[in-house]
Amino acid sequence: MVPTSYYLILSAVLFGLGIVAFVFKRNIITIFMAIELMLNAVNLAFVAFSQSLGKTDGEVFVLFVIVVAAAEAAVGLGIIILTARNRRSLNVERVDLLKL
């Protein structure tokens, strides 16, 4: 019997770590991963709530989130590949010009 608040705290911690990673990683791919991490944290919260409230909606939301994440990954990684090709660098601090 696990209290829901445990799950929520876990998800909060993961989310915070995701934020930290998002701010402190320089590699653009890793930053993208940080976003995924945050999404996962949110998913966890969703499922926890849907369990504790006895509704399945939360899990449906999780499915949607996963779909969105998939689409995001497809496009985002494409962009990343292009950027890396053009700038010869994955460090977001080196990729700071709008023009090529």
Binding site: G16, I29, E59
Partner: protein, 166 residues
């Protein structure tokens, strides 16, 4: 201290450690591996909560597709260890406190509301995939169709991005 609680703590700690290592690892592929671990751990937690289908999807889609894409891209671009540049003053100085602030807010919110939430069901009661799919195709059918559109658009975008100029 029941079995499910033990499992929870094991998985939770695993997830947190993996997330921390995601931050600490210098090489993107190690970060990716850590993230995969996080996801698997979360899948385990879903199972623990009885959301079996979500758990499976979590591993299949996140672990099996998205993260594979990440690893694939890392290998393709043959990314090397990240250089710890610090051009951004903002990130350097304001980053940590702000992250803490956010975490603090969330923690505060949870702390205030913890009592008002019923405890999660033990892993015994599984939400059958049937009910999930029924919900998905009755109440959430429009969002569902929209997601299909989203996927289509994403595919097109990926193709456009990937093709060479000619």
């Amino acid at each position: 201290m029941s079995a499910s609680l033990i499992i929870f703590f094991v998985l939770a700690l695993l997830a947190i450690f993996a997330a921390v290592s995601l931050i600490l690892q210098r090489h993107p592929i190690h970060s990716a591996l850590s993230l995969i671990v996080v996801m698997v751990a979360l899948a385990g937690l879903y199972l623990l909560m009885g959301a079996e289908f979500v758990a499976a999807v979590q591993i299949i889609v996140y672990g099996g597709a998205i993260m594979v894409l990440f690893v694939f891209v890392i290998m393709l671009l043959n990314a090397e260890e990240e250089e710890r540049t610090n051009f951004s003053k903002m990130a350097r100085f304001a980053g940590i406190p702000l992250a803490l602030a956010i975490a603090g807010f969330i923690a505060a919110a949870i702390a205030r509301n913890a009592g008002s939430l019923p405890a999660a069901e033990p892993s015994g009661a599984l939400t059958s995939t049937k009910t999930l799919s029924n919900l998905l195709f009755s109440d959430f059918v429009y969002p569902f169709e929209l997601t299909s559109f989203l996927i289509l658009v994403a595919i097109l975008g990926a193709i456009v991005l990937a093709q060479r100029e000619n």
